[in-house]
Amino acid sequence: MLNLLRLAVVAIAVVLTGCAHQIKITPDVSAFKSDGVTPIDKKVGYYISKEDREKKVITPGGGGDKVQYQPYKELEPALQKSLSIIFARVYSLESLQDPQIAGNGLTYVFVPTIATNSSSDSVLTWPPTKFTVVLACKAVDAQGATVWEKQFTGEGTAEFDEFKSDLSLSAKRAGEKAFAQFQQAVASDPQFRK
């Protein structure tokens, strides 16, 4: 009986070990606030390549497991929301030569580069207890010249009592922090109010 149990546990452990659990790292965009932001009456765009949008990333979770997600696709709503709070209109562009730039009179195009990492200090549970989002973003003008470039790092943590009902919590917190810094930096930069 004990041998059977041992076999079953090992079999399940083998199946589970190394498997990548799907998480979704989109933060709660309703938490993005416009308080203190003076809107800018300009139209802007952002560009995420098709390859980046579909990119799947695997980073460590707990207990030897891994987590899998799509950082660009899942953080895109945070980029949209941050820009929408600041600018009058925001467009998603197919390329940096998208006809919408001239057609809609866009003044700036934001181009994000996103790196992520995760870890866990738990050997019993797989959701990450710590997650990091590094958002590097540049803005180009309508002629394609880079006019602004900055990098922001958001770190999110979550313990078992918190993440047991939201397995992506540390990731969502990290994204929220990175984009809050981004929003604050764009909103306060005189470059975008010229």
């Binding site: 546990v9 659990h21 799907q22 979704k24 989109t26 965009v29 309703s30 207990g63 019993l124 009902s165």
Partner: protein, 188 residues
């Protein structure tokens, strides 16, 4: 030591596989809907309290993912989830006004999530009614279907279903807010 390792493994597996309660992610509105509704210059809209027929309420207002319960972040109700989704879409389009004479009401007719062994499915169906001054300007049933990769392992399949459910609500909202009849009905 072996007994401890075995016990730890079983506990870990139990935590990984066992039934638990997961919260649905809050709704994320669509930029396309916001731009479309802003470009259309629709009149401000008030969102009424969405409902369900009593015979359907327990079936559409709560969701279970295999043995796990799945909680709505909006008053624990998935009827409210759809209502808040509509409110979030209109807010992002700057077309939400709690005092507007135009009101959007909704009735949730179907809200099913199937955590399959290889594919997960969600189906949602709702009736949307737009009224102004006592006149019905729009009355249509919209439905949406969504699929995602699932697994026989609950530890993989249940979180995947939990994270993918909002996608079917987004599809429902896209269908409503891209409907030319809705946009015409919502104009001043």
């Amino acid at each position: 030591m072996i007994r401890f390792s075995l016990a730890a493994t079983i506990v870990a597996l139990a935590l990984s596989i066992g039934g638990c309660s997961l919260n649905a992610p809050k709704y994320t509105p669509s930029l396309d809907n916001a731009n479309r509704l802003r470009d259309a210059h629709i009149a401000p809209i008030k969102v009424g309290a969405f409902t369900a027929d009593e015979k359907d309420r327990s079936r559409v207002d709560k969701i279970s993912l295999r043995a796990s319960s799945y909680a709505s972040p909006y008053k624990g109700s998935f009827i409210s989830y759809v209502e808040e989704a509509a409110r979030a879409e209109l807010a992002d389009a700057q077309a939400l006004d709690p005092n507007a004479p135009t009101q959007l009401d909704g009735k949730l007719l179907r809200n099913d999530v199937d955590v399959g062994m290889s594919t997960g499915n969600a189906d949602i169906e709702a009736q949307f009614v737009l009224r102004r001054g006592g006149n019905v300007r729009y009355d249509k049933v919209k439905k949406a279907h969504s699929e995602w990769e699932s697994s026989f392992l609950g530890a993989v399949a249940i979180p995947a279903a939990a994270e993918n459910y909002p996608g079917v609500v987004q599809k429902l909202m896209n269908d409503l807010f891209s409907d030319p009849d809705f946009i015409t009905a919502a104009k001043p």
